[in-house]
């Protein structure tokens, strides 16, 4: 168990070091997410002003789109020097490698969300401060669910053709429950009187999803990555 955590920790530290140095993925992903939000804000208008009810949906869609790009870029980087192969060659536990990569992606997306949430609050007058802990919990759980499936698929796709378009094709249908739960839960929290019970229920669903799919990913990572 300690080796597992040690290996995962190694991968996370390495990814963070690389990212902190170049900051390429972080900057571009944040900017893309912000652009998404703006595009949607302009597209979904009523009486010449952005639709305030759409705040929750727009936020999660932007995270999903930005997340897909971030996943693609992260694994493209690994593909560049075939370093993913080097990781597979090591005697380290493969699921540990997966967890390391997953944590890295989740952290990256959480940073993006930290920028996005205040922006959404600003543009759509959304009450992001009304239940901050629940909102944070929803975001964390949803991000984990989305990233769990995304990291697995993106890692598999490193060796495939048409990988840029394949990732969204594979990822979005599977993560629709995450989007539904995230959006509805967030919308519940953005109500004038936050519907906390409803939000809690969606959180429970997300937690279940996370458990099931992280487990499934841990199981299938090794057979999928070996040719």
């Amino acid at each position: 168990m300690t080796t597992f955590l040690r290996v995962a920790g190694l991968v996370v530290r390495k990814d963070l070091t690389v990212e902190v140095r170049s900051r390429e993925i972080v900057y571009t992903t944040i900017f893309f997410a912000v652009s998404c939000v703006l595009v949607f804000a302009f597209a979904l208008v009523r009486e010449g002003r952005p639709l305030e009810d759409a705040a929750a949906g727009i936020m999660w869609i932007s995270v999903a789109f930005a997340g897909t790009l971030a996943l693609g870029r992260t694994f493209e980087r690994e593909r560049h020097s075939e370093t993913l192969r080097a990781l597979m060659l090591a005697p380290a536990s493969r699921p540990a490698l997966y967890v390391g990569k997953l944590v890295g992606i989740v952290l990256l997306l959480l940073v993006v969300e930290a920028v996005l949430v205040p922006l959404v609050g600003l543009l759509f007058h959304a009450p992001i401060g009304s239940s901050p802990f629940r909102l944070a919990a929803l975001l964390v759980l949803g991000t984990i669910g989305f990233s769990a499936v995304g990291t697995l698929f993106a890692a598999m796709l490193v060796r495939a053709r048409s990988r840029d378009v394949m990732l969204p094709i594979l990822l979005y249908p599977i993560t629709i429950p995450v989007i539904i739960a995230g959006v509805r839960g967030t919308a519940a929290l953005f109500e004038p009187v936050p519907a906390v019970d409803l939000a809690d229920m969606w959180m429970a669903l997300l937690a279940f999803f996370d458990i099931v799919f992280v487990t499934l990913a841990l199981w299938t990572f090794e057979p999928l990555m070996t040719e």
Binding site: R6, L10, K14, L87, A90, P91, A92
Partner: protein
């Protein structure tokens, strides 16, 4: 469970992708203290065979035995005894030389990380550049670093995919000397190369692949050019 072995045996190994055959019933072996060279024209299957030896690919048929165990029997412990120097070098350009080595040393669970890394940097001649980013290194420097990285964990079997390509003469000499040293330590070394001069200086055994088939497997001394002319040069109109 760390596995150690003194011989690598490839028995009737085939590998195909759909209807394209990459390797057809290749049989060869290599022992401790021997350097085996894989020669052949491009697309002959040399890199595929190397990848199979490195357990990155599974053969479609046949088996590879490391000592008495196959890859699936030996499990993860086998990978602790394999070193692979790929053409892509497997280095993180955004990290420094030292950070690259430290990362892989820790990943392989090496006991004395700092000491091993220091020694590796010295051997690679990069102690002065240890804290510079790999992105700024020349091909030769990266190669030296990558070689030391693949040796950090004292692998029994060392696999090198065209390590001499793109190196100047001095670097080639240094690499040949290093490999001879490793051979003297009892490692098993398998090298893919196009360079006949180097081959003559270095190899104990030579295997020539053509279209996925093993067309020659022999002791190297004095025979390399002969085999090369017979099987490889023919197809290239030399």
């Amino acid at each position: 469970m760390i596995v150690d072995f003194t011989e690598v045996a490839v028995r009737d190994v085939s590998r195909h992708y759909g209807r394209r055959r990459a390797l057809a019933k290749v049989t060869l072996e290599c022992r401790s203290g021997e350097v085996l060279g894989l020669l052949g024209p491009n697309g002959a299957g040399k890199s595929t065979l190397l990848a199979i030896l490195a357990t990155l690919l599974a053969p479609s048929a046949g088996e590879v035995r490391y000592g008495t165990a196959t890859a699936s029997q030996a499990g993860a412990g086998l990978r602790a005894k394999l070193g692979f120097l790929s053409h892509d070098l497997h280095l993180y350009p955004e990290l420094t030389a030292r950070e690259n080595l430290v990362f892989f040393a820790r990943l392989y669970g090496i006991a004395e990380v700092q000491a091993s890394v220091r020694t590796a940097l010295e051997r690679a001649g990069l102690s002065a550049r240890a804290d510079d980013f790999v992105a700024g290194f020349s091909r030769g420097m990266r190669q030296r670093l990558a070689l030391e990285r693949s040796l950090l964990h004292q692998p029994r079997l060392l696999l090198l995919d065209e390590p001499f390509t793109g190196l100047d003469d001095a670097s080639v000499d240094a690499l040949v000397e290093r490999l001879c040293g490793l051979r003297a330590e009892g490692r098993i070394i398998v090298v893919v190369t196009h360079d006949l001069d180097v081959a003559e200086r270095l190899l104990d055994k030579v295997a020539v692949l053509k279209d996925g088939r093993l067309v020659a497997f022999d002791h190297a001394h004095g025979r390399i050019r002969e085999h090369y002319r017979a099987h490889v040069a023919k197809g290239q109109g030399q």
